[in-house]
């Protein structure tokens, strides 16, 4: 039965999660050099426009409409233009909220996912190419994956794997896609020799804070109601983010004797990534472990592994979201309890069941392979048909001017013209 408490909760969560995408733009924008600020903001925020219109037109339908063909791979077009989607009646996925609310709540997740990828491509990709890339990525990666994991009759759902708030669909898919795309795109000029200093830590901090607070709505909202599951998810998210921040600070203290804002906030964020798939399945104490371990895992990925393989994952979309998401998916398989959420058919490994962890690993593999392969395909085709990378001169000049003719702080010097 539709009830106002649940509607209020999911509506507000929709707003707060929507706010995360501009927040991500600030988070990324603060980390880049000044000359690429506008380009970074733009590459993230345009996703709002594009993903909304595509979702309304057909994306929602492809992801959540009844299965087309019965392969569990993609939905049909019966929900296109929000057909059969009502602001007063409940739909298939939730009995307590109107189907249109479910549709826009899912939309805000679909907006932020391609925006995450952009972090890997920062500072060297032409904006029109990013635009086209995101359009095709949504079509070929996001909608199918969302359908497989969450959709009626979806493939991965059928495996018995669980994913509370989007570990596979959102974090693993975007992180892995970022990795693949940034390898195909190539490194920034001077990568490995030069230091890329962030230009505005407070801007990064504002963005990180919006992400942190918004994430509670992100994970909590996935309970699709103001109920015990939402409380469980938010509580786990709080604990995991706090623990991850502390362990990141610990690592920095041990290695460098100093802690940084960039480190501490990154720690909190990876703590949130890791708990995302697990939030509504695991007990409180395990959130401490999930969060506490994600920082060393991601730290290693962002330093040792990245350096070793030499790919230029500029703002660590893969290091944070890909790696953190995989750890989160595995952790769900370790710590989930059917008593907490009967959607999980089995308990996690630490409680003795092996089926769930197996299903989780399979789901992760499918997500990694599927999104990696499709991203590679899109990038290769893109390279054939359009200019994907800016020229070295444009890269040196900065993408703000070369791609947008817009500076981030034109009159900041106080010199009027």
């Amino acid at each position: 039965m539709i009830n106002s408490g649940d509607v209020a909760f999911v509506l507000i969560c929709t707003m707060l999660v929507f706010f995360m995408t501009p927040g991500l733009a600030m988070f990324y924008g603060g980390m880049v050099r000044r000359k690429n600020t506008v380009n970074t903001l733009m590459s993230v925020v345009f996703c709002c426009g594009l993903a909304i219109v595509m979702w309304f037109a057909f994306g929602y339908s492809l992801a959540f409409a009844p299965d087309a063909g019965g392969f569990g791979f993609i939905g049909d077009l019966s929900y296109a233009f929000f057909n059969n989607t009502s602001s007063t009646e409940a739909g298939f996925y939730a009995a307590n909220i109107p189907s249109a609310l479910f549709a826009i709540f899912q939309l805000v997740f679909c907006i932020i996912t391609p925006a995450i990828i952009v972090g890997s491509l920062s500072g060297r990709m032409k904006f029109p190419a990013i635009f086209v890339f995101v359009a095709f990525w949504l079509l070929l990666v996001y909608y199918p994956l969302a359908h497989m994991v969450w959709g009626e009759g979806g493939l991965i759902l059928g495996l018995g794997a669980v994913d509370f708030a989007g570990g596979n669909v959102i974090h693993i898919s975007s992180g892995v896609s970022g990795l693949v795309a940034c390898i195909i795109l190539g490194s920034r000029k001077g990568y490995g020799i030069q230091a890329y200093h962030p230009h505005n830590i407070p801007l990064f901090f504002i963005g990180g804070s919006i992400l942190w607070a918004g994430w509670f709505a992100f994970n909590g909202g996935c309970a699709l109601g103001a109920n015990g599951l939402a409380v469980q998810a938010v509580t786990n998210s709080v604990i995991s983010s706090g623990a991850a921040m502390l362990t990141w600070m610990l690592i920095e203290t041990v290695l460098f004797k100093k802690v940084t804002v960039m480190g501490a906030v990154t720690g909190a964020i990876v703590g949130l990534v890791a708990i995302t798939p697990a939030a509504g399945f695991v007990p409180f104490w395990s959130a401490l472990i999930i969060g506490g371990l994600v920082s060393p895992i991601c730290f290693t990925a962002m330093t040792v592994i990245k350096q070793k393989f030499g790919y230029d994952d500029a703002l660590d979309a893969f290091g944070c979201h890909g790696i953190g998401g995989i750890w989160g998916g595995i952790a769900t398989g370790l710590f989930a309890q059917t008593a907490i959420n009967p959607v999980a058919q089995w308990n996690g490994l630490v409680f003795g069941d092996t089926q769930l962890i197996t299903a989780q690993l399979m789901a992760i593999c499918i997500s990694v392979l599927y999104s990696g392969a499709m991203t590679a395909l899109i990038m290769f085709v893109l390279k054939k048909v359009m200019k994907v990378r800016v020229s070295p001169e444009e890269e040196a000049l900065g993408l703000d001017i070369s791609e947008h003719s817009e500076e981030a702080y034109p009159a900041f010097s106080g010199i009027d013209q």
């Binding site: 000359k35 001077g190 030069q194 001169e393 040196a396 000049l397 900065g398 001017i401 003719s405 817009e406 500076e407 034109p410 010097s413 010199i415 013209q417």
Partner: protein, 112 residues
Amino acid sequence: MKLVEAIIRPEKLEPLKDAFLKYKINGLNVRQVLGCGNQHGWTAHNRGTSVIMNMIPKIEIKIVVADEKVEDTIKVIMDVARTGEIGDGKIFVKSVEECIRIRTGERGDVAL
């Protein structure tokens, strides 16, 4: 002693620093300036209105060198900072009467 003062494109600072390293010119300081000359800026679009940025961000480099190194320094700058397009900038040479290293109190060429 001479002061070689160059106004260059911002994107040329990185390669220039590398070049100086090679030529062992290692004391310098830089700042951002806005300049105008023959180059009249680029067009920005501001909610539909086209506006010209007619003062363009440039980098000013100052290097104090011994008299005999002036031409070398100029050459390095010319090699790296030239694109052939309007807006490449200028090099000005001025004379410096004295140089003192604050740390040691040394004066003259040894202090550079």
